[in-house]
């Protein structure tokens, strides 16, 4: 639809950028405790160099905003952007619109890593110097994908993407089985594991942001650099080779970069579903199917979407938290069905 008219990319990029800024602003303004919402933009302006505005925000209130809300909003933006751009890249590399960033066993590997930590330390709060949870889930995710990739590429000589996906299914089943077994022997941690699986941003700190930032930046930059090549892959392996693409190298790089980013964000936020599918598809609906636009717009809209989804997750069941995975699935699933319906009507 949109590609039939003139090129609107400038418009879409500026709109999406605006959306991110708005969502993040709302994100820091809304919350159960802290200063009155309209004072916060004033204080933000006050904090800019050379400008002084009396916002009436006390130091304690500002700490609530800066130490609790702000890292949460920033982390939501990072997680949303990474899941979306990884999802879009996976969809491109596997030429399958239903692929999500958790394919190839990232989710189950991370889940197993997290479960091991919970089972090992029980209900005791961590006495370790560093929280082992993100580290364990990150390693679990990478190990699972490594096994998937080695097995998947060593057998499939011809249809390597199909064997890769099948290997992912097998690895997922295996890790889930181990996870279930451990959980059954450690009933007391089921609640914690369950809340981890649903994903959360509630405990976000600036430390989490610093922890994921290097991986996420590398992953996103590498993926964005491949946006044009992902378009060439759309015509299939044979024609892509005939057009001069080294498809093995491109596929390996894209899969590794997307996995690295996904594993990093899963480690700090748990499994937040549907973002990696619905955001890229929404982008395709508005801006056309070329990955040259889909990838960068997914970064922006993914950030905006998750920051926005995090707001109801804070206030819906106040003072309790609604898991953000519940919110994204609640809005994501119906959206996805509508999307499928409009697609069908178009053709």
């Amino acid at each position: 639809m949109s590609t039939q008219g003139r090129d609107h990319s400038v418009l879409w990029f500026s709109l999406s950028g605006l959306l991110v800024v708005c969502a993040m602003l709302f994100g820091v303004m809304i919350g159960p405790a802290g200063p009155t919402w309209w004072r916060i933009p004033l204080e933000l302006i006050n904090r800019l160099p050379l400008i002084s505005v009396d916002s009436g925000v006390s130091k304690v209130d500002w700490n609530i905003v800066w130490m609790i809300r702000a890292p949460r909003v920033v982390l939501a933006a990072i997680v949303g952007a990474t899941l979306s751009v990884s999802g879009a890249s996976y969809q491109g590399v596997f030429r399958n619109p239903l692929v999500d960033p958790y394919l190839l066993g990232v989710a189950s590997g991370a889940g197993l890593g997290a479960t091991l930590v919970f089972a090992f330390r029980g209900n005791e709060p961590s006495t370790w110097l560093i929280d082992p949870l993100p580290l364990a889930s990150f390693c679990g995710a990478l190990i699972a994908v490594f096994i998937t990739y080695t097995v998947g590429t060593s057998f499939g000589r011809t249809r390597s993407t199909v064997t890769l996906v099948l290997a992912g299914v097998a690895v997922t089943s295996l890790t889930t089985a181990i996870q279930t077994f451990i959980l059954q022997r450690n009933n007391d941690v089921i609640r914690q594991v369950f809340s981890w699986v649903l994903g959360r941003l509630s405990s976000a700190t600036w430390g989490d942001v610093r922890l994921v930032l290097p991986y996420v930046v590398i992953s996103t930059v590498v993926l964005l650099l491949h946006r044009r090549l992902l378009d060439v892959l759309r015509v299939g392996d044979d024609e892509a080779i005939a057009l001069g693409v080294n498809i093995r190298r491109v596929r390996l790089t894209v899969v590794l970069a997307a996995t690295l980013g996904t594993a990093a964000v899963v480690a700090v936020s748990g499994l937040i579903g549907f973002v990696g599918i619905i955001v890229p598809h929404a982008v395709r609906l508005i801006a056309g199917s070329s990955y040259r636009k889909v990838l960068p717009l997914s970064v922006l809209l993914g950030a905006a979407f998750l920051v926005a989804a995090d707001i109801p997750s804070r206030i819906l069941a106040d003072p309790a938290e609604t898991p953000i995975g519940v919110i994204t699935a609640f809005f994501g699933a119906p959206f996805f069905l509508i999307l499928l319906r409009t697609r069908k009507n178009e053709s």
Binding site: T3, E239, I241, L243, G244, G288
Partner: protein
Amino acid sequence: MSTLGFCEMTISYDGVCAVNSFNNILYSGEWLCLIGPNGAGKSSVLRAAAGLVKYSGSVAIDQKEIPTTSARWRAQHIAYVPQTPLMPEDMSVYEYVLLGRNPHIKHFASESAHDKLVIEKVLTRLDLTRFSYRLVGTLSGGERQRLVIARALAQEAPVLLLDEPTSALDIGHQQHALELVDTLRRENGLTVVSAMHDLTLAGLYADRLVLMHQGVCVASGSAQSVLRSEILAEFYGVSARVHHEPDGTVVVIPKRSTSN
């Protein structure tokens, strides 16, 4: 403007030989047509030249052997149009032609002003400009065939490989597509290798025919010399009449075995 040489090209799949010692040299601007029954190895020769299957022996352009390691170098010199191209329905016509520029655009770069100029020229040449923003899925069969040729032209490669370019087209569009290739080859000096099933069309457009049978080249030459009923009977197992038009066109007409 380049010559194309095949030297002792041998292709096997899982130890089974598909093409055995294929040799041929095309002069610049020549159109060579590979004919032969299904499974004779025509497509394999084209696919190997396009770098899609492994082969022993060599393929050379202007006497320079194509390095098997660089897909990019090959794509700058050889454009390949498969029998049934995979055309993403929701890709725009412009984006599709842009894919042809891939071998000329640096790995992580975007298209340059020169690339855009080449695309504009190709779109104009093939009368596709008004379709630029249309989606590939909305085009007809004939328009799609033009679009695939447009993508191949955007590669600016001196050699064009066509695998069954007309098999999905009606007789009118078959003629249009082949006329188009013929004109382009005259204008740009393209060297063309095609695999075709329609013997009459093959003889009509190609400068030279090569008949392949079980991976071996069994006859080569002009339409008059290759399209003979006894040769066709031997290698296709067909009983056909071969009719010679006064202008030199060779027409192959299959015979019905029972008459009523």
